[in-house]
């Protein structure tokens, strides 16, 4: 029962994060929101007895993917500052 | 059995090794790259060579030592082996093509290309759906990355759009797999197939998502904007890979999944494929960018193959024959499309029009021509056979809507492909030669072409078992290509010898009935005219191969036994004549019109052939008189097809154009010989549908009127032409109208008169055209008002034309009179008084243009510019002499011709008792008409009547004072610019006032409007491709949803 409630809470948070990721003006915030979605998903994976997936999602989905996004953003920001200014 | 895992291991090891060894030397990594490619080719070919294929059981290999549902299975049967051989050979060729690029580029590109091939191989081999997903991702990601080979903004944008679409497709795929697993508890395709179709809606949605993912990857119209951008902007080597290897692997995967689908999905997919085929071709019409055009063509072809794989499953057709059709289309597209992309990369020209640079490089031009013709579906390429089989399946099962979409789409495809060929042939002085020709690229191109030809020949001989005789046109073409370097006269004599020998061996004494008549027309007629080409000093490259091919295929019409043989020969004839017309200096547009009408005709003929009962083996088509009777639908299709070839009114507009623009010597053959192929066809139809037509009556009535109107309007148009060739072209059309009229009577006398006129027309039209060819050659113009007074300069030509026009006009004593007499009597005998009246009126009009012909060209005042013209070359005179002798012969002894014709016709329609021959006299004593004609006597009398005054005139003439032309004592003042005031210009202006309204080009206008509307529809449709990646995503969603809703998948 507790698990169900926890799942629902996580789901609501994650959906809110998703909507925020779509609507927010700042790309950085969107990236972080999508990282949070992945992190919440990995907790959900633990709740449905899939620890392998949970580990992988935490490491790759929320960790590495976010890093890659941030690097890409940095790249573009760098260029913008050198070109636009 | 060769283990397919070696294939996977080879690519993987190669890809992993390459970046590592690249540190040492790029040459080592390239070496590994080519070694891996060669090994993959070797492995797949080795599998193909193994004979352990059994028809039904697939040869599967498992992984990890467990059986099928547990582990991943790979199928490596015959189909996979064949496809993999092609794919890996293409991989090797693509690698070769990219050799220079890969040597410069960072090493990752080599790995990427190997992994792309790994993806394709895996996708083809795997029997596991999720494994398929993994390999699909490998294939796609490698492709996305390789698009980056060109770092232009457009290529980047295209690659990104591709990624968006591909990403979306794989999302659909994954969701589908998830739920499919939920419902079936398996991922193995075979286990899954054995479970049958579950009825749950969720399961159907899962299947729908899976199959739509693959369909989207296959770039269906209209959800394919991204793909077109990719084809347009990617490196040509990569575009070639996408259109061949990726498409092949995806199509095969699609095919593998088909047994999983419920039967209701099939029409949906078939419709989607056909829509993609038709509309891609339609939108391609207005496309000017070569790469994008190829993209449209690729998506169209893929759509067609989807249609074949899904649409034919409902018919009573074996799985292997469906596959055979798909394979034929695929293989042709595979080699031709890659070749075209490679060519595009070689010549580096964006617009299709600028491909005229090819005209300066005959090798590349030849390759281009081969690819275009293969794509259009001409024999002997596999697409030809595939299309024939496809039409057979569709027409045989009454799928008329699909059939029309297929044929219309094919025609549209032919429009833009052949128009492109026209651009390439056109010589443009500004074009520079293509200077840089990298050897590896050229090797890829050549090797691909050779492979395509080999595969084509293999299919032609091994699968369709065509007798070697049917392939003679092609062999003759190839043989003459080899000796094309010889001087014209040598080639000419070889051709004449070869054709004479061939005629002697295979036709002389072996033809029966009407066959022997057409034998003389088709083979004999063209044989004599070969002389005409021999006056050229320069070596006209490519002329003789095509000419010989044409003549051989004309002859083969008489030998063809099965429907396939007949149609194949017909297409050989169409193809060679099209290319011969295209040789004309300004003939691009005319040739395009010609081939489009011919192709439409050919499609109708094909449909008609499918509908007609099957022919007998070993009995030539023309002999199948009473053995086969076809129904009206077949007869109508066939009839319209042949009428197009004849240039009947309404579908005639190709005729004046192409007659005018073709090389002069060839126009002569077209008019005198080639048109008789249509006559032959029409007669065959009438013979084979005799019972049904006679019972109906309405159709032949309409045909008769069509003939009469053709005769009338042809003559009328001829009157108002300034161009001498155009005049003669319309005259030919008019004459063919008489022939149609005669045939339409469905009476003994009618057919005899039609055939007799056909026979005569050969000689007098060839005679006039040959003479006029000489005149045009010497004067350098086709406008009659720029000629005049040539009688003194070219007396022999004058005599030829004089003889010719006497014959044409139907004045005694020459043979034309006899033919006209026959026509009128047969018309009147059948009670067609109005038609007879119209025909008679047309003959009267004919006098006008014939008078103009002889008067403006040969009589009147000579033009100063033509003071020094000489008589035509001897090579043009020879055929004229032959024809004059023949005309004199048949005029004197018409019964040597009419009697055999009559007895041939009586094989089909019993000769009435009232028609009889006594000596030289033909007697008619029908209940409604009496008459007789003695050609011999007429000739004798006329010669007497004309001969005596002639002798007297000659005697008198000797004493006449001769005045030089420019001796103005006897002449009025000459205006400065005489051309427009000259009587020969707009000669019959006064008649134009009276009859001009009749010749307003209503029909031409109609066809122009058809063209224009098609183009504007194409333009409107193309606006859905906004270029925005997001819009393309929206298209994909809408595509998936609309089909979902229409199909009622839920």
């Amino acid at each position: 029962m507790i698990e169900t409630i926890l799942t629902i809470v996580l789901a609501i948070i994650s959906l809110m994060a998703a909507v925020y990721a779509v609507l927010t003006k700042k790309t950085l915030n969107a990236i972080i929101a999508s990282g949070i979605i992945s992190l919440l998903a990995s907790i959900m994976f633990l709740l449905v007895s899939a620890p392998d997936v949970a580990m992988t999602e935490a490491a790759i989905g929320s960790g590495l993917t976010t890093v890659v996004f941030l690097y890409a953003l940095k790249h573009i920001k760098d260029r913008r500052s050198t070109h636009d200014d | 059995m060769v283990n397919p895992l070696y294939l996977i291991a080879v690519f993987l090891a190669g890809a992993f090794l390459v970046p590592f060894v690249d540190k040492a030397d790029r040459r080592i990594s390239l070496g590994i790259f080519y070694l891996a490619l060669a090994a993959s080719v070797g492995l797949s070919l080795a599998r193909l060579m193994q004979a352990d294929f059994t028809a039904m059981t697939e040869s599967q290999v498992f992984t990890a030592g467990f059986g099928a549902p547990l582990s991943i299975a790979l199928g490596f049967g015959f189909k996979e082996a064949i496809l993999l051989s092609f794919v890996n050979i293409m991989g090797l060729l693509a690698g070769l093509y990219l050799a220079k690029r890969l040597a410069r580029e960072s090493v990752q590109s080599i790995s990427l290309l190997l992994l792309l091939l790994l993806g394709a191989n895996g996708l083809i081999l795997t029997r596991d759906i999720f494994n398929g997903f993994v390999f699909l991702e490998i294939l796609s990601i490698a492709t996305y990355a390789l698009i980056g080979l060109k770092s232009s903004k457009n290529a980047m944008a295209a690659g990104f759009k591709y990624m968006l679409a591909g990403g979306l497709a794989s999302s659909f795929f994954l969701i589908g797999i998830a739920f499919a697993y939920r419902y079936t508890g398996t991922l193995n395709i075979d286990t899954w197939i054995n479970m049958g179709v579950l009825m749950s809606p969720g399961y159907r949605i899962a299947l729908y998502l899976i199959i739509m993912a693959i369909v989207i990857e296959l770039k269906p119209f209209p959800a394919n904007g991204w793909a077109l951008d990719v084809y347009q902007s990617a490196h040509s080597g990569i575009a070639a890979v996408i259109s061949t290897i990726n498409t092949g692997a995806l199509l095969f995967f699609f095919y593998k999944l088909l047994p999983l689908l419920p039967a209701e999905f099939m029409p949906l997919l078939a419709g989607a494929g056909l829509i993609s085929f038709f509309f891609s071709n339609l939108v391609a019409l207005r496309q000017k960018n070569a790469g994008r055009l190829l993209g449209y063509s690729s998506t169209a072809q893929t759509g067609l193959i989807i249609f074949v794989l899904t649409g034919l499953s409902g018919f009573n057709l074996s799985q292997s024959s469906i596959l055979m059709i798909a394979a034929g289309l695929f293989v042709t597209n595979f080699f031709a499309k890659s070749g075209l992309f490679w060519l595009a990369g070689l010549i580096k020209k964006e617009t299709t029009k600028s491909w005229s640079v090819l005209s300066k490089n005959s090798l590349l031009l030849a390759l281009f021509g081969i690819f275009i013709l293969a794509l259009t579906g001409f024999p002997p390429f596999p697409s030809f056979f595939a299309k024939v089989e496809l039409v057979r399946a569709l027409a045989g099962n009454g799928a008329w809507v699909s059939l029309s979409a297929l044929l219309a789409g094919s025609l549209l495809e032919a429009v833009y492909l052949l128009r492109w060929l026209g651009f390439a042939v056109k010589k443009n002085e500004e074009d520079a030669l293509i200077e840089t020709m990298p050897i590896p690229k050229l090797v890829s191109l050549m090797f691909g072409t050779v492979l395509m030809i080999l595969v084509s020949l293999l299919i032609t001989t091994k699968v369709y078992h065509l007798s070697s005789g049917m392939m003679y046109p092609l062999m003759a073409f190839l043989a003459f290509m080899i000796i094309d370097f010889l001087p014209m006269k040598t080639k000419g004599f070889i051709a004449i010898g070869l054709i004479a020998y061939w005629g002697w061996m295979f036709f002389w004494g072996k033809l029966l009935g009407i066959g022997s008549l057409f034998g003389i027309i088709l083979i004999g007629g063209s044989l004599v005219q070969i002389f005409g080409f021999m006056h050229y000093k320069d070596n006209k490259a490519g002329l003789f191969p095509l000419l010989v091919m044409l003549i051989f295929s004309l002859g083969n019409l008489l030998q063809a036994c099965t429907k396939l043989e007949f149609f194949l020969t017909w297409e050989f004839m169409t193809l060679s004549s099209y290319l011969l017309i295209l040789r004309g200096k300004h003939a691009q547009k005319a040739a395009l019109t010609y081939i489009l009408f011919s192709l439409s005709g050919a499609y109708l003929i094909l449909t008609g052939l499918v509908l007609s009962p099957s022919f007998y083996h070993k009995i030539p088509v023309y002999l199948l008189s009473d053995m086969i009777q076809m129904g009206l639908p077949a007869a109508i299709f066939l009839g319209i097809g042949f009428l197009i070839k004849l240039g009947a009114l309404g579908v005639h507009i190709w005729l004046p154009e192409s007659y005018t623009e073709a090389e002069d010597e060839f126009t002569s053959i077209m008019s005198s010989v080639l048109s008789k192929a249509g006559v032959f066809g029409l007669l065959i139809v009438l013979i084979m549908a005799k019972d049904a037509l006679v019972a109906n009556g309405l159709i032949t009535g309409a045909l008769g009127w069509l003939g009469a109107l053709t005769a009338f309007f042809g003559a009328l148009m001829a009157v108002f032409q300034e161009d001498v060739k155009k005049l003669l072209a319309y005259s030919s059309m008019s004459q063919l109208g008489y022939i149609i009229m005669g045939f339409a009577l469905m009476s003994h006398l009618g057919w005899v008169s039609g055939l007799y006129l056909a026979f005569n027309h050969l000689f007098f039209k060839a005679l006039i055209f040959m003479a006029i060819t000489g005149v045009i050659l010497r004067t350098g113009t086709r406008n009659m008002y720029e000629m005049g007074g040539l009688i003194k300069k070219m007396p022999i030509s004058f005599i030829s034309v004089l003889m010719g026009i006497i014959a044409v006009s139907g004045v005694p004593p020459l043979s034309g009179f006899g033919s006209k007499w026959f026509i009128y009597t047969s018309l009147i005998e059948q009670g067609h008084y109005f038609q007879a009246g119209l025909a008679f009126f047309a003959s009267a009009i004919a006098f006008l243009y014939l008078y103009r012909l002889i008067h403006t060209v040969f009589l009147g005042q000579a033009k100063p510019a033509q003071k020094d013209v000489k008589e035509a070359p001897i090579w043009l005179i020879i055929p004229q002499a032959v024809f004059i002798m023949v005309i004199m012969g048949i005029s004197m002894f018409p019964n040597y011709i009419t009697k055999p014709i009559s007895s041939a016709v009586s094989g089909f329609i019993t000769k009435p008792d009232w028609l009889s021959w006594t000596g030289y006299n033909i007697t008619l004593a029908s209940p409604v008409l009496h008459g007789n004609w003695n050609g011999n006597l007429v000739m004798m009398v006329t010669m007497g009547v004309f001969g005596i005054p002639l002798v007297w005139l000659l005697l008198v003439n000797a004493r006449v004072q001769k005045v030089k032309q420019f001796n103005i004592v006897f002449a009025a003042e000459r205006p400065d610019k005489p051309w427009t005031t000259h009587f020969a210009h707009n000669m019959f202006a006064h008649y134009k006032k009276a009859l001009g309204w009749l010749i307003t080009p209503k029909i031409t206008e109609f066809w122009n409007n058809v063209t224009e509307w098609t183009h504007s529809i194409a333009a409107t449709l193309s606006y859905i491709y906004t270029g925005n990646g997001q819009t393309y995503l929206l298209h994909i969603f809408m595509y998936v949803l609309v089909i979902f809703i229409i199909g009622g998948v839920r």
Binding site: S38, S49, T56, V68, F69 | G167, L174, N1028
Partner: protein, 123 residues
Amino acid sequence: MIILIHGLMLIIIGIWAMLTRKNLIRIIIGFAIVDTGINLVLVAIGYIKGKTAPIINDAVSTAQGAAAGMQAVDKVVDPVPSALVLTAIVIGLAVTALMLAYAIRMHKTGRSLNIDDFEEQKW
């Protein structure tokens, strides 16, 4: 069940993002959200209420080898979706990374991140 619906909803939100955002990176985020949603859906499908992770040691502490397998069959959830999701996660990362690389290059050549600025080829 909740996770399944949640996953499907995430997918739709992701589609919303990829259809409405103009910024290339935001579109890619949309794809990432769709990927997460799909992974959730996949795992939800393999879940069986009240069963443990497919680690046989933990499910059956006493037995070993084949005997453990026999007992574990009734105690664990489906391992197949887990295995599939592992693959899907990695593939998702790969596609995302490549898309981002594209975005960076597009920004370099086109000086823009707006997808509307990349529609020179059309019709």
